[in-house]
Every structure is written in structure tokens, then in C-alpha cells.
């Protein structure tokens, strides 16, 4: 059973106004009003973000950190202000602890490469969990193959919750890093990452948190969590694609060697030797995704106008509403029933293929995700090929959930 305590706090969301902020929500798909319930894959963009990107290309474009001319200097200030916006949003100690990357996957790859190069050797162990996205498995698997290090997996129970006692047993002198997801993209489980970090730190083991699915739904305070690394993508946070953040504690980022090398990441270069720039530029070789950084800051400003506390409360209401309605459908089984859940619901329908149901829902203008959600080991654990996944955002409504339920019933009727 989902913890219903949150829902006591009634949300204060002006849903009609919010929906007006997202132009795409007024379009039709297959002749029907779009019902977008695939927010775990990517979130839609508010006008504020689209305007920020538009303003950049129409009024601000130049290269940053390089020019003496006005455009370059203005834009450098705007870009660095964007970094400060993000820093404040996740309560990092310094702006230079925020590295602009291509996204969560890129952020994890950066740490796997640079941390791995310096700190991982044969026989070492890296702990991940059974519910990780492939993006938080493959970089470590690859590193393990290169260095002869081993992956250790925190098991889960059938509800989709980490077995914390097992996790504690995995923490040994061989453990060099723990990398776990904050919120499962498939199950919606909110993991006790603060406790995971606390336990790992008792043995001086650093922790990386994949926050891709957490930041759109809740306030994240990296200092309160005491996370060593925290990764997320702009596009799931109502910002542009192709940009993301690696937060790293200053002490760790200073210890790590650069990931990619090139322009902008240096102090001095001779053909014999290069002296690298200070943080954050050491990790930001090449001209960055400037529009992306500005768009992400605009997205953060936007969600802060609404307030993540309001967002979390409203999404929780919708989660409970949708869960209750889905459970009433004959033969439908929800996969992932953790006590602490974000607004993500995976399910299967007995005897039916997720692809067939998803195809029919699409005809009704309802966008949900079907498949393994890049979590094949998790699918193996549940002994299923795929699920249907509904992931809800604060611009969704109870009426849309009603339409989903109607559509599902219709699809199931057609298929059986």
C-alpha cells in the first residue's frame, strides 16, 4: 500500500492556468486531445523555457567564457547565473560543484570514467541496485570489465523496495563506490538515499545518486542528503534535451581527472603539457549547450513559481487516484507497490501484450510507455518482458486519468 499520509496536505495547484503554460497540451493526436502520461521518459516544456531558448538564439547568441565583446560577456554572465540558479535549487555549497553535461547518462559516464581512472583497481567493488536504469549499470559494468572490479547488487523485495539489511552487508573494505537511483523509473519507488549515504559514509565510501526521476517530483537538497555525486537531466525537469547536471562535492571533483579534454578546460597548453582549468571548467571542454543551460534555469524558475511542495502533493493525489482506479481493472497487476512512491505506475494485464495495449491507447491520443524501460534486469526479477507505465506530472488531471481508464478498458475489450 502506498503511504497516503502525503495526501492529507491538499495541493494548491491552479491546474487550468498551468495547462495553459504548456503549449503542446492543446494539440491533438490521432484526432483526440493529447493525454500525455509519459513524463518519466521526458516532460513537456512550458512557454517560459521555450521563450528562454528563443531569446537566446534571437538576442543573446555568442560564445561564452572567451570574448571581450559585449554579447559574449553578457551571455557568460547569463550562463553562470543559470549555474547559480541550479546550485541554489539543489542547495549545493558552490556554483562550481555543478558541471553541465549532456544529461544523466553523461554525468554517470563522467564519474565512471574519472573516478574509475583514479580510484578503481582490480578486486574493488561497486554497489548498485537491482532497480537501476541501464544508464546506471552499463558505465559501471564497463569500468568493472576494464579494471577487474566487481558489481554488487542491492536486492529488492517484491514490492520493489531495497533490502537495506542486505545493502549493509555488501558494504565492505573492498567497496569503492555506491551508485543508486533516487527514484526508480520503472517502479516509482523512492529509495531511502539519505540512509544509504549515511551508511556508506560510516565506511568512508562515496555515493552517487541518479536523480533523473527524482528532481521533477520533489525538492532535492544535496547537502542535506550529503550526496557525493548527484546526477539529473534537464529534459525530465521541463527543460531542454541534451543538457544535464553532475553535482559533485568540491573535494571529489578536485580529485578527479578530466573526462573529455579540449578548449575551455585548460589554463595553459604547450605541446608537452597541459595545466587544466579550475572547477567547473576542468569538466566542461568545448563550447557547451548554452541554450540548454539557460533553458534549464528557466525551467527551475518555473517550477519554483509553482513550488515543488505543491507539485509533490498534487502528484501524490493523482497517484492515489490512478492507482485505485487501475486496481479495479480485471486482470491488471501493478508492478511496484512500495510504500514511498513517486507518481509512476507500472502494470501488466494478464494474457495481454503491453505493446498491443499501448498501440490502441495511442489511437485514443493517450501517450504512455510500454516496454522494459531500460531496466531489463528488473524485468527479469519480476519474470516479465515488459510493462505499461503511466508517469504523471503536475499538468495532468483526474479527468485524464478517467480517460486512461476508459481507454484501457476499451483496449482490453478489443484484445480479448
Amino acid at each position: 500500500m502506498i503511504n497516503t499520509l502525503h495526501s492529507i496536505t491538499r495541493s494548491s495547484i491552479d491546474i487550468e492556468k498551468i495547462r495553459m503554460d504548456f503549449p503542446i497540451l492543446s494539440r491533438k493526436v490521432n484526432g483526440k486531445p493529447l493525454i500525455y502520461l509519459d513524463n518519466g521518459a521526458t516532460a513537456q516544456k512550458p512557454t517560459k523555457v521555450i521563450d528562454a531558448i528563443n531569446t537566446f538564439y534571437t538576442h543573446q547568441n555568442a560564445n561564452i567564457h572567451r570574448g571581450v565583446h559585449t554579447l559574449s560577456q553578457e551571455l557568460t554572465t547569463a550562463y553562470e547565473n543559470a549555474r547559480i540558479t541550479i546550485q541554489k535549487h539543489i542547495n549545493a555549497a558552490f556554483p562550481h560543484e555543478l558541471i553541465f553535461t549532456k544529461g544523466t547518462t553523461d554525468s554517470i559516464n563522467l564519474v565512471a570514467h574519472s573516478f574509475g581512472k583514479k580510484f578503481i583497481s582490480s578486486g574493488d567493488e561497486i554497489i548498485i541496485s537491482a532497480m537501476e536504469h541501464h544508464s546506471n549499470i552499463l558505465p559501471w559494468q564497463q569500468l568493472g570489465e576494464e579494471k577487474g572490479a566487481l558489481l554488487k547488487i542491492i536486492p529488492i523485495n517484491v514490492e520493489g523496495e531495497l533490502l537495506m539489511a542486505e545493502f549493509e552487508k555488501l558494504l565492505t573494505a573492498k567497496t569503492k563506490l555506491v551508485a543508486v537511483t533516487h527514484v526508480s523509473n520503472t517502479l516509482g519507488t523512492i529509495n531511502p538515499v539519505k540512509e544509504i549515504i549515511r551508511l556508506a559514509h560510516t565506511k568512508n565510501i562515496p555515493v552517487l545518486i541518479d536523480g533523473a526521476q527524482a528532481v521533477p517530483h520533489q525538492n532535492v537538497d544535496v547537502r542535506d542528503l550529503d550526496a557525493d555525486f548527484y546526477c539529473f537531466s534537464a529534459h525530465k525537469l521541463f527543460g531542454p534535451t541534451g543538457v544535464g547536471i553532475l553535482y559533485g562535492k568540491e573535494k571529489w571533483l578536485n580529485l578527479l581527472p578530466p573526462y573529455q579534454t579540449g578548449g575551455g578546460a585548460i589554463k595553459t597548453v604547450t605541446f608537452e603539457k597541459t595545466e587544466y582549468a579550475d572547477l567547473p571548467f576542468k569538466f566542461e571542454a568545448g563550447t557547451p549547450h548554452i541554450a540548454g543551460g539557460l533553458g534549464l534555469a528557466a525551467a527551475i524558475d518555473y517550477i519554483n513559481e509553482i513550488g515543488l511542495t505543491n507539485i509533490a502533493a498534487y502528484e501524490h493525489e493523482l497517484l492515489i487516484y490512478a492507482t485505485n482506479a487501475l486496481e479495479k481493472i480485471n486482470g491488471l497487476k501493478i508492478i511496484g507497490t512500495a510504500k514511498e512512491k513517486a507518481s509512476v505506475i507500472s502494470f501488466v494485464v494478464e494474457g495481454l501484450h503491453a505493446f498491443d495495449i499501448g498501440t490502441l491507447l495511442d489511437q485514443l491520443g493517450i501517450a504512455i510507455r510500454t516496454g522494459h524501460h531500460c531496466t531489463q534486469p528488473l524485468m527479469n526479477y519480476y519474470n516479465i518482458q515488459s510493462t505499461l507505465r503511466v508517469s504523471i506530472s503536475f499538468y495532468n488531471t483526474k479527468e485524464e486519468i478517467d480517460e486512461l481508464i476508459k481507454g484501457l478498458s476499451q483496449a482490453i475489450k478489443m484484445l480479448t
Binding site: 490521432n30 495481454l352 501484450h353 503491453a354 505493446f355 498491443d356 498501440t359 490502441l360 489511437q363 510500454t370 516496454g371 522494459h372 518482458q385 515488459s386 478489443m414 484484445l415
Partner: protein
């Protein structure tokens, strides 16, 4: 009936449907029909890997024509598989290699051919044509 004639026959069949529901109901009915492949061929070796639905396909050459049998674990995919088999099976390798399969667009299923769909249909057409190409070369040698 040659490949183009079969394609036209399917286009005509789909034209009578008024809305998407009838079209998909027809595909589902095709999909629900008995497995199209001999159970012995439903092996990993015959599996065409798509991201979301599995498609098994087997081909053999009989009297100069390629005979296809196939199956899928998803009903709608299976319906589409049935259409593909109906169009391409029992034709010469050269006819199959040269088929342009315009009926898929005409019956409004083009979106199932987009590379992101990953339902196995694109891979299946590719594999059917590849098999035909192999038989074509065998015959020519």
C-alpha cells in the same frame, strides 16, 4: 495473384473500414488466428529481435517459391505479420526482393515502420527480403 495484386486486395479490404477501431479489430482478428509458424521453429534462432514484441520467422524454398511462416507474441504485431506473409509468401525470390510494399502506407500503418517503433515489423521485412536474396543467389549459382 502477384505481389502487387495481393497488396491491392488488402488496400481494398482496408478501405471499407470507417475508423481506426475497425482497422485494428481486423488486425487483432488476423492476429488471433492460429499460430502461423510450426512450433519447432519458434526458437531463439528464428527470433527477430524487436524492442517490444517478439517476432519469429521461418522461410523455405519450395518449387522455386519462398514460403514464409511467422508468429508474434503481440496480437497487433501478429496481425501485421499475417499481412506480410500473405503478401510475400509463395512468390519467387526475385519478386520478393523487388517488392516495394506500398500497401503498408496505403492502409495507414506507416507509423509502424518508423525506426523508433521497434515492433519488429521493420526487422521482419528486412529479414524476409534478406532470406529471399539468399535464395535468389542460390538459384542463380
Amino acid at each position: 495473384m502477384n505481389i502487387e495484386e495481393t497488396e491491392q486486395e488488402i488496400i481494398d479490404e482496408f478501405e471499407i473500414f470507417d475508423d481506426w477501431m475497425q482497422k485494428y479489430e481486423y488486425l487483432i482478428d488476423l492476429g488471433k488466428s492460429l499460430p502461423l509458424i510450426d512450433h519447432q521453429y519458434k526458437t531463439d534462432e528464428k527470433l527477430i529481435r524487436g524492442c517490444q514484441s517478439k517476432v519469429w520467422m521461418h522461410s523455405e524454398l519450395k518449387a522455386g517459391n519462398v514460403i514464409y511462416t511467422a508468429d508474434s507474441d503481440a496480437i497487433i504485431t501478429k496481425g501485421m505479420v499475417a499481412l506480410m506473409v500473405r503478401v510475400l509468401s509463395n512468390h519467387t525470390p526475385t519478386e520478393i526482393v523487388n517488392a516495394n510494399l506500398h500497401f503498408i502506407e496505403k492502409i495507414g500503418l506507416t507509423k509502424h515502420l518508423s525506426p523508433t517503433r521497434s515492433n519488429g515489423l521493420v526487422s521482419m521485412i528486412k529479414q524476409m527480403k534478406l532470406d529471399a536474396l539468399v535464395y535468389q543467389q542460390k538459384i542463380n549459382n
